[in-house]
């Protein structure tokens, strides 16, 4: 179908809804219009939103792929992987994607990373045949979370019409402003990992301390992998000394890799994996697929990568 093979660029639209009815009407219409044009459709959303859409679409819902946000955004950057995998199933066929998560449940490090995720969609998927609609619950979300949506979408949907968003920020500038370095606290545990053999010692530290703060064994294995990859990047592409700091930062436990490498780091590095097997390019991608949130920044002391893992409530490491 020629209409489904259109080469027009991606769109990234925000919807700020005030009621269930408005949500059903606007998102339902967005999806139905896509189905009529032969587009494929994917919805990542909380179960309550999925229920509304199923009811709104009726039999047409069978043509839409639904995924609960607890899967699609676990962790948040998994949403990119879901999008890539969905697109790869039918190369060149245009997709309509509705993407919403339970944003109010996110901790500050995740909210910061979500702001990056939303801004980067405009660049990473710019040439992809996809129309992304991001609904924001204007009736319940606090202003600072709604502001993410207002700054990161080039267009907004209201009453069935899409119009330019006057509050849209340049995504590259926004991303650059979200890479400020946060130094490790004075009470961080720090180890020098400047040699290849030190990477195993770093893993040992991560396993011990991660277990002590109450992370699940699977999560400890994830963060050990992520730390290994980021340290390996630093050893291969950065400059010594390479340090690993581990510490608590509010509700997250942080593994902070710092090397003397010259920056700045491309803010889009590692947001998507290499398209073909490559010697490099997987480290940050994998870290984002394993960790709660990932901060990448550069200052006069070098490159900093902070890997956040949420500490389970009630565990010994849960904060205060």
């Amino acid at each position: 179908m020629t209409s489904s093979m259109t080469a027009s660029p991606a769109t990234h639209t925000g919807l700020f809804y005030g009621s269930d009815g408005q949500y059903s009407r606007e998102v339902g219409q967005f999806l139905r219009a896509g189905l009529e044009q032969g587009h494929r459709s994917l919805v990542i959303a909380p179960s309550s939103r999925v229920d509304l859409l199923r009811a709104s679409l009726g039999r047409a819902a069978a043509e839409v792929r639904f995924m609960d946000d607890s899967i699609g955004y676990a962790p948040q950057w998994n949403a990119y992987r879901v999008l890539l995998d969905f697109a790869a199933e039918s190369p060149g066929v245009r997709s309509r994607v509705v993407a919403e998560q339970t944003l109010a449940a996110r901790v500050p490090a995740e909210v910061l990373d979500y702001r990056r995720l939303e801004a980067a969609v405009n660049l990473v998927f710019a040439d992809s045949p996809v129309d992304v609609l991001c609904p924001y619950d204007a009736g319940s979300l606090p202003a600072h979370l709604l502001e993410i949506g207002l700054r990161t979408h080039a267009t907004v949907l209201a009453d069935g019409d899409t119009s330019p968003n006057s509050r849209f920020d340049d995504p590259a500038a926004l991303l650059a402003g979200l890479s400020a370095v946060v130094p490790p606290p004075p009470d961080a545990t720090t180890v020098d990992c400047s040699g290849p053999a030190d990477v195993a010692l770093a893993r040992r530290l991560v396993r011990t301390r991660g277990t002590e703060v109450g992370l699940d064994p699977e999560v400890v294995a994830d963060v050990a992998m992520a730390v290994t990859e980021v340290l390996t990047n630093a050893l291969l592409h950065g400059a010594p000394p390479t340090l690993l700091h581990v510490y608590q930062a509010g509700p997250t436990w942080v593994c902070h890799v710092h090397d003397r490498g010259r920056g700045p780091v491309d803010p889009l590095a590692g947001l998507v994996p290499p398209t073909e097997p490559s010697d490099h390019g997987y480290g940050l991608w994998l870290a984002r697929q394993l960790c709660t949130a990932v901060d990448v920044g550069h200052d006069r002391t070098g490159t900093h990568v902070r890997l956040h893992m949420r500490v389970p409530p009630g565990s010994s490491g849960a904060q205060r």
Binding site: P196, A221, P273, P277, G283, L286
Partner: protein, 290 residues
Amino acid sequence: MIPGSERTPVDLGSLEPGTHLCAFHRDESQLARLAETFVGHGLSAGDQLLYVATDEQADALLGVLPDHVHTADAADALATGQLLVRTFADAYGTRRPDDLGTVADGFRAAAELARKDGFPALRVAAQMDGLAPLLGSAEEVLRWERMSTGLQHDLGVTSVCLYDVDRLDEEHMTSLAGEHDGLSPERAETPLASFLAVDEPWGLRISGEVDLSNRDLLHRVLVARAEVMPRLHLDVRGLTFADIGCLLRLHAVADDLPDDGWLLLDGGPAILRHALDVCGLGHPRLRLAP
């Protein structure tokens, strides 16, 4: 004082292929420790090991070896031919060689045979008490060792020459130490991972952790095994960690196999399969056992 003992022993974990080492022992227990450390590291690295010693010395080594190598069974290493034990007479003969070229040919043949048997390289640990009587003089022993250093560099054969201090005077020991690339340690850290040959089914048992420090070592073993038989069963039940670089090397080896070849990963931590999936490093010839 043992000659050369003031020198720092080499790091067996970062040896260049073809390194010619020596070690001096005062008694059989020290000999066993030296041999265990060298042989254990060599087996863990996936190389073929030739231990030249008496039956009693070989028994002493086999008794302590399992403590050194990850989950290794010395009997397995003997059964697969990864560990070979020879007497000095079997390895070097009972008559003085006509010329050192004959010795070079023997080394070359042994190294080639190791590769044909699916090992990336040959390492030799040899108890050298029989060398002086065979060659006839201390000067000839020095000449032999000098020739061996150059030859082993060329062939990529790593070795340790094990000398009994009670049979040598100090001046000769000092000269011997000078003809080698370094001292082999009596003790060394357990390698991060071991890559042990398996014959049935043909492949490799990978245990421990693979990362930036040892993934190229694994790659050379995989290539050597695949050259003999392009269908490799990789027992990774004892593998506790593998980084993306390791997975990339598995992918690269699978990609280089002929169409009817494969690598079968049997076991391994859940994160390994997850990382393969997340990074899109699956390959039709890289199979995962259910």
